[in-house]
């Protein structure tokens, strides 16, 4: 186990334990439904449940989500038969990558840290560079990527079609045999159900401050202030505006982010603003996994980035005090939905 993975796992476990202790611990929610599509929306998110936000060509249903879940955890969707989607989007780490960069077939390493898949039902652009405009479009690309799963969708379909139980599941979900489209659609359906909505912050927005104390409130106020300016990219509620900004992390190198897609010099170093639910569990941070802890993240922003000339003009030194940094950290930790990591619905 890598050092990243060990420390990230420890942090996740600690957050779980701490969330269950003490008088400030959130009250445990009632036993959740086992239905994947029966998830409350996170507080402050745009209108629409995960079902309502599913596209007309792939309406979200329980059979589709369950089929997608099975595919998500199935390493047969890789050329070598040992890499599943879940290898890089690990449930224990809020469906994010606990190593600095992701590892695919033949132990090939990528250049980016796989982002968390939480709450993507409310996003409109996908991947760090936004090259996919729907979950359905996104779902097939890692399977075909030579350094990730390296399997053509055609071959992936052949493999699942050889399994009678899959054929039956596709029939239930899409009333048709497995196809490249329905395989992508099913995966997208499952990802659409990955929802983090019960953090202390969510409950705070719903009027319950039992787990959102003074430090968290000071941190929230600072987060939404012009001094820290976090809200410019991470607005209240959704905590991402789904935009692309150079946040001061990129400092040269081949992975220019959105510029790969657009070819425009002004897009050099721009990467998608991720959501922050369960951010405590998704270390390391940034597109390249270069920041190991939330403290490192705060410190980088406090410095005003790494000095790349293309850094967004809003990224400037913040002059945060030690107390302010601690409050910001408390707020970020309050974004952890403690039920997510133990939610049986997301177990393979």
């Amino acid at each position: 186990m890598t050092a990243f993975r060990a420390s990230a796992l420890l942090a996740s476990l600690l957050s779980l334990l701490l969330s269950a202790c003490g008088s400030d611990a959130p009250s445990q929610p009632s036993a959740p439904s086992l239905s994947l599509i029966d998830s409350p929306s996170p507080a402050g998110f745009p209108l629409g449940t995960i079902v309502e936000r599913s596209p007309s060509q792939n309406l979200l249903t329980e059979p589709r989500a369950q089929l997608g879940k099975r595919l998500f955890f199935d390493p047969r969707l890789s050329r070598t038969g040992d890499v599943a989607c879940s290898n890089c989007h690990e449930r224990a780490f809020a469906f994010a990558e606990p190593d600095q960069v992701s590892t695919g077939v033949d132990s090939l390493q990528g250049t980016r840290n796989a982002p968390s898949l939480l709450n993507l039902a409310w996003s409109e652009k996908f991947f760090w560079d936004g090259r996919a405009l729907s979950l359905e479009e996104q779902a097939g690309k890692p399977i075909e990527n030579p350094i990730e799963m390296d399997l053509s969708l055609n071959e992936a379909v052949t493999r699942v079609a050889a399994d009678p139980s899959y054929v039956a599941a596709f029939e239930r979900a899409y009333a048709s045999p497995p196809s490249e489209e329905s395989l992508r659609f099913a995966l997208a359906s499952f990802v659409r159900t990955l929802v983090s909505s019960m953090s202390p912050y969510d409950r705070h927005l719903r009027g319950d401050d039992s787990a959102f104390g003074e430090a968290e409130q000071r941190g929230e106020a600072l987060f939404l202030s012009e001094q820290a300016g976090c809200f410019h990219c991470h607005p209240a509620g959704m905590l991402t505006n789904d935009g692309f900004f150079h946040n001061g992390t990129y400092d040269g190198g081949e992975d220019t982010g959105r510029e790969h897609l657009t070819g425009r010099p002004g897009d050099i170093g721009k990467f998608k603003v991720p959501g922050l639910r369960n951010v405590e569990n998704t270390a390391p941070y940034m597109h390249d996994g270069s920041l190991q802890t939330l403290e490192d993240v705060i410190e980088q922003y406090n410095r005003g980035g790494r000095g790349d000339p293309n850094t967004d003009p809003q990224i400037v030194p913040l002059a945060l005090s030690a107390a302010q940094k601690a409050d910001l950290l408390a707020f970020l930790r309050a974004l952890t939905d403690p039920t997510l990591l133990v939610d049986r619905r997301y177990a393979p």
Binding site: P46, L47, G48, E226, M238, T240, N241, P265, T311, P313
Partner: protein, 342 residues
């Protein structure tokens, strides 16, 4: 270049008390009330666009004046008409008389360059101007002909699909167009989490302070012969500095003439989005769509942001970019941010 008219009806809200001074306009009569309102006569001064303070509810006649903002901001507006011709208004940013290419370094007359990184603004309450001075209110529609949600259009230079404004208009002869550059009060009061695009958080315009931003600009300028970021002015992020100081105050990539960041917003209790008029003759046929391109003149935006305005009554949050935005909003009556292309 088509005609320009400036009618400044006061930068205060319609039907509300405003601390802001009324702005007069040469060549026009201004009979707006002290509390703001869109009254006055139509005069063609041979210019481009007119900016009128206050997002008054658009009256069907110019002389109708301020009637208050729309009572609500429904996701699905009530259609004003069931038929018409689609008027397409492609919007092209320009600077120093030349097209401004988004996310690319644009050469400047001083030998430097400017790379716009974000240009977005709301447009709502669109009306067409007849030669008789009658205002014809029209519905914003999407590319597929549906009513635009909330009656609002979000222009984003990064989103090609949003670069064209579309309205459903009666055929006929017109001498201009009028719209609110921003959101009316009811729309500005909407919560992003109770809204869909373009009033959700993904608009990148939601703001924790006073509703939504009406305009968001970010860019990087480089002086001739410089390497890396443009010079930063006085440091700090306080909001009390003058406009020119704010241009570089703590914001990287700024220079004296080209602010790095401008955030123009409004208020949750007043209708403060500026109204803009763009004059120029055109005839909409019965069969469409009919297209008439507009320029978004960044020179005017920078000019307005950098020009000192009386900020009496401004209770906005601190931040250099917010101050610049408020200068821009209060100066809008003197600016011509839009013009028709020939």
């Amino acid at each position: 270049m088509v005609g320009l008219l400036f009618l400044a009806m006061g930068s205060g809200g319609c039907g509300t008390t405003s601390d802001e001074p009324m702005h007069g306009a040469s060549g026009s009569s201004n009979n707006g009330a002290g509390s703001g309102g869109a009254a006055g006569s139509l005069v063609n001064n041979g210019g481009t666009s007119a900016a009128m303070g206050g997002a008054a509810g658009v009256a069907d006649t110019v002389a109708g004046g301020a009637g208050g903002a729309a009572a609500e901001c429904p996701e699905l507006p009530v259609a004003r008409r069931s038929a018409g011709t689609v008027l397409e208004l492609p919007i092209h940013p320009s600077l120093q008389g030349k097209p401004l290419n988004f996310a690319e370094p644009n050469p400047l007359s001083n030998g430097g360059s400017l790379t716009p990184l974000d240009i977005r603004f709301y447009i709502s309450q669109v009306a067409l101007l007849r030669p008789s001075a009658e205002l014809v209110r029209v519905d914003l529609v999407t590319a597929d002909g549906a009513l635009a949600p909330y009656g609002v259009h979000l222009y984003s230079a990064d989103d090609v699909a949003s670069n064209t404004l579309r309205v459903l208009a009666p055929p006929g002869d017109y001498v201009g167009i009028q719209f609110v550059m921003g959101l009316t009060l009811p729309c500005n009061q909407r919560s992003p989490d109770a809204s869909k695009a373009p009033l959700s958080a993904t608009s990148q315009m939601s703001w924790p302070h006073t509703g939504f931003l009406f305009l968001r600009y970010q860019g990087r300028s480089e002086s001739p012969g410089s390497a890396g970021m443009g010079g930063a002015g006085p440091g700090g992020s306080g909001g009390s500095g003058g406009a020119e100081a704010a241009a570089g105050g703590g914001l990287g990539g700024a220079s004296a003439d080209f602010p790095a960041v401008i955030h123009m917003g409004g208020s949750l209790v007043q209708d403060l989005a500026p109204m803009v008029r763009v004059l120029g003759s055109f005839s909409i046929p019965a069969d469409g769509p009919y297209s008439k391109s507009m320029r978004f003149v960044l020179d005017e935006v920078f000019k307005g942001a950098l020009k000192e305005a009386d900020l009496t009554g401004f209770m906005g949050p601190p931040g250099a970019e917010v101050v610049l935005g408020e200068h821009l909003r209060r100066n809008m009556a003197d600016l011509h941010p839009f013009s028709f292309e020939q």
